[in-house]
Structures are given as C-alpha cells and as structure tokens.
Amino acid sequence: MTRAVAVVGTSNIGAVKYAEAEIAAEHPDLSVTFYGLPGGKFAEAGVDAAGLFQPAEGDAGARKLAERVNGTAALDLTRFDAVLAIGDTLGMPQTLFMAAQYDVADWPTRRDRPLISTPAFLSAMEEAIAGRADHLARQFRGIAPVFAALAPYPTIAVTRRGPHRQEPYASVADHPELPRLHALYRDALARALAARGMTFVPQPAETMAGPFLTKPAYAMGAMDFRTEGKVLNDHRHMNAAFGASLFRAFALALGATSAGADPTAQIKE
C-alpha cells in the first residue's frame, strides 16, 4: 500500500526535493509531495481550520511564490499519512550561544567564562527549544503525524571567517564539550517534540563532520529550492545526496520499507 507523505518546510526542503528520483526508487511505497517557502514566510505559514497548510493570511506575494514553486498555494495536509517538516533550527542557535558564552559548572573545562549551573543551562536550552517546538506544533496542528528535522547543520566552512560565517556555529567551533552539548541538545529536542506529538528525525551521522556540522561534500552543488539549476554553494543548503540520506532517516522512523537502498552508503568527501 502506498502511503502519502508531504515534505514541508523552508528552502532546506530543496535537498530532499532534488533527490526525488532517488527517493522514488528507494521507497516505492511512499508517494512524496513537496511544499516549501522561504524561511521567513514558512515561519508565518500554518494549517487553517480545513487542514490546508498555506502562507499567512493576506500575504499575496507568498501565495504567488508558493504557487509557482509548489504548484499550489496551499497544501491539504488531510490527504497525507505523515509530514516531514524541515527547516527550523528549534532553539539550537540560543543553545550554542549559551554554550559559547558560559562555562557550565558541572563540565570539567574552564575557559574563564561566567559560570552557569547545569540546571540553568538545561533550563535555558529547554525553554529555547520549547518556544520553537510550540510554534511548529501550532503550524501543523497534528493534522497528520509530524516528523521534524532540523535545518541541516552548516558545513565546517561556516566556522571560519568570511562571507559564510554563521555566528552560532562559529562561536562553538573550538568548544571542548561539543559532543556532550550535541547529545544534550538532541535528547532535549527529541523529548520536546515527543511531548507535542511530533517525532524528531536527527540528521544522519553519515552526513556529519562533527557535532552541529555537516561534511562539506553534502553542500556542494546544493540548489535553490525555487529554481532547479541555480547552485547555491553557501554551506548552509545541502545537495540531493544529503536529501536522500535525510529522507532515508525519515522513512526509517516512519517504518517504511526500503527497496535497494544501502543505508550504510556514505558519500566520499
């Protein structure tokens, strides 16, 4: 039996969208529909009383854009068995800024930063996540089961100086407790989403260069979700190989069968 799934989100859905052919081959029991909006417009979008996911009321520009990119201004989520929502950073920047600026009292390293207690740090992280998770839950209202994936971690290039510098990630580039922080954040995020009836789809390990970072190879040739062929190479948006990998993780969480997929396949840098 074919199940209908929707991939909904920000420009980051591009990675999955451009992996459509690979996904179709790997997951013949899934029928996939894509619906994306630019970040700011996606944040304002949501499901209406009839179950239609669409831009904010009165935003004619966003509706026009949605129609051009997705072939429809609004997506009827009642038609789907599941939604993969991609694009929000779900409290991660706040968490990274906190980690960059404080030394957590229970952690062994001291970098001459103000000390913060572990309960305060965890509370801040959970509050930051909760605010975004609440927003995500309001956007989708549980019309279809929501599986949420973070916007892809940027590549290691963004931790250096230059036009692609991403401050939250750059600020923790040399943090001695990054693996611990990553584990804490992902656990907290999974709990927060579960508490709101959503399932967290973590970024696949094979795509990661380290905590909060993606291997550069997955950013090469990334295309604008609005215009096929327009290459971004901005180290924030990912390519089809990434999209296929992320979708594989989603399908696994969904319990879909895979045909011919090699879940251990890794892209070579």
């Binding site: 305060a120 801040a124 509050e127």
Partner: protein, 347 residues
C-alpha cells in the same frame, strides 16, 4: 484670625487636601529628591523582593541599571528570571535584612567568612546565602563555593562602578548561625538545610542594631566607592510568617516601623542618603480598593506602577511607554520571594 504655626503651611502639610480628596498615587509634592537621578546615573539595586519591582521599573524607564551578572545571549527570559539573572544588579538573590547586606559586603571584601555556606537537600547543595538563585541546587559544596566566588567578584565590580545604590529594606527577622553570627536570608529547612536549634538562632533586630549594621555597610562601601549615594525604601510587603511569637500582623507592623525609623535616622546622618516613600504610598488608606491583591501580601500591579511613576516623575523622568508598562502586571505577581515559602509551614 489668630495666628497658628500651621498658618501658611502648604497643602502637603494637611491630611485633607494632602491625602484625603487626592488620588492615592497622585499626591503632590510628596517626595523631594535630595539628589538628581538621570538616565546616565549608574544604579545598583538590591534588597527584599519588592526591590525587584523598583529595579524593573527603572530599567523599563531607560535608566542605567547595572547588571553585573547578566543573562547572556541565548538565555530565554523565563529561565533568566527563575535563576535570578537580571533581577538585581548582581545575582544576590533577595537581601532581606541590613545585616545580610553588611555581611555580604564584608565577605566580598575578605573581612568575613560565612559559616555553613552550603545547605544540602536530597543530595543537591544550595548557596545558603542566596538559595533562591539556584532553585534546583548545585552538585557539590565546592561548586557552591566556586560560583559564589565568581559572584563576589562581579558584585565588587558593580558596587565600585555604581553612582546610586537603591536598597529596599524588607525584614527585621532573620536566622543566624549561633557561633559566628552568620545571617541567612531564609530559615534553615525552608529551601534546603535543616533547622537545628543548637546551631541556628532566631533574631529580630531592633533599630539600634540595624542602624549600626547600616552605618558599617555605608562606611565600607564609601571606602570602596567614595561617590556612592543611597536611595532607601521600605518594602510594604507584609511578613509571610513570623518566628517572633507575636501575631504576624503585629510582627509585620513592628518590623516595618523599625525599618522606617532606621531609614529616617540614616537619612538624617548623611546628605548622601535619600529615602523614597514607596512604603507610605502603598500603605496609604487612600487606595479605594486596597493596595494589595487577594493574598493581602502582593502589591497590586497598578499600584506598583503608580508608585514607580511617581518616583520617576519626581526626577523628571518619564515612566515606560504604555505597552511596556503593562508588563508590570506579570512582573508583580512573579516577584521571587523565598520568604513566601514560609506559608507552606502553616498548620
């Protein structure tokens, strides 16, 4: 008409027309500041839980309220509030008694070492001198000491850089370590620790003791920061509970009366010390619906707002714009007050 020493006195000298017949928070010429307060004045705030409103209103009005241990980028507001960031100029927690403040400054200057500085509960440890700032406690006494040491450095920096210290006197009752006189902001066993009558003793300070503590405190800080001036207020918030043996109403009135007298005596002793009558404004019988909320302890948000507006107006400063001022409602109800926890020990 016969001459009387009251002849020719201004309206403010007469109850009728001075209070009666005037809006509770519209009193004319109530407060004459001893020294000006400008947006550039660096203000340090400390005191009992009512002081949270004072600091918040000053911040909203755009004054330069010092925040020596700020919530850094990324910390969301509820966490910041719950863990004592931005509540006062340093993460002192509530300072209820003048002796507590005196000992804090003595400790900061290396003149005093508090006894039993970490209190345990269920395997976690609280800073006994500011238990409210870490509501879930810390891992070990060593961690309490490490965080406290950092706090004292920040506190010293803030006090050195302040132009004005706004201090709200809250209580006369306190709990001391018998042997050393270390005073704690909460009774042992309220948040953490355990009460042992052989170790801790109840104290209800009188005017002379408090004045002595204040004088010592003021002198220490004058040495650290010769330009520092003081603005004293008395918290109108009644005691949640008393250990004095008196009825809590009597104990409250006694406590406030003592603190009020101390403020007057302190002001009389130095032109660097001012008093703002927020206590009187709240306690005035002119409030038609009463100044307190249903629990008869929390000052109604609009009263807090009115009191602070009057204070700011006295300095020629505008209160926060309307939309911002509306937030006072939430702030008022949420003032963090460990003393209120005593209510849990009611029979």
């Amino acid at each position: 008409m016969a001459r009387s020493p009251y002849s020719g006195k201004p309206q403010r000298a007469f109850w009728r027309g001075g209070v009666a017949g005037v809006g509770a928070l519209e009193l004319v010429d109530l407060y004459r500041p001893r020294f000006p307060l400008t947006p550039e004045t660096r203000v340090f705030t400390a005191g009992s839980c009512f002081a949270q409103h004072v600091g918040a209103a000053m911040t909203r009005a755009g004054l330069s309220v010092i925040d020596a241990e700020p919530a850094l980028r990324g910390m969301p507001p509820e966490t910041a509030r719950r863990f004592g960031y931005g509540t006062y100029s340093a993460r002192t927690g509530n300072i209820y008694t003048v002796r507590q403040f005196r000992q804090l400054v003595e400790e900061m200057l290396g003149l005093f070492t508090p006894a039993l500085p970490a209190w345990e509960k269920d395997g976690r440890y609280w800073d006994a001198l500011r238990p409210g700032v870490e509501p879930e406690g810390l891992t070990s006494p060593a961690q309490v000491a490490e965080m406290r040491a950092q706090h004292l450095v920040a506190l010293g920096r803030a006090l050195e850089g302040a132009d004005l210290l706004v201090f709200t006197l809250g209580l006369t009752e306190g709990w001391e370590h018998r042997e050393t006189g270390t005073v704690y902001p909460t009774a042992p066993g309220t948040i953490a620790g355990d009460h042992d009558a052989d170790i801790f003793v109840f104290r209800n300070y009188g005017v002379a003791e408090i004045l002595e503590d204040f004088t010592a405190l003021e002198e220490m800080l004058a040495e650290l920061n010769p330009g520092l001036r003081w603005l004293l207020t008395v918290s109108p918030v009644p005691l949640a509970a008393t250990a004095s043996g008196d009825h809590v109403l009597t104990a409250t009135m006694r406590s406030k009366a003592v603190l009020r007298v101390v403020c007057d005596m302190a002001c009389d002793s130095s032109d660097r010390i001012d008093y703002f009558p927020s206590y009187e404004l709240v306690m005035s019988p002119a409030h038609a619906g009463g100044a307190f909320g249903p629990d008869l302890r929390s000052v109604r948000p609009e009263v807090v707002e009115g009191v602070m507006a009057l204070f700011l107006a006295s300095h020629g400063l505008a209160p926060a714009p309307e939309g911002v001022a509306e937030d006072v409602g939430d702030m008022s109800d949420d003032a963090l007050c460990e003393e209120a926890l005593l209510d849990a020990f009611r029979p």
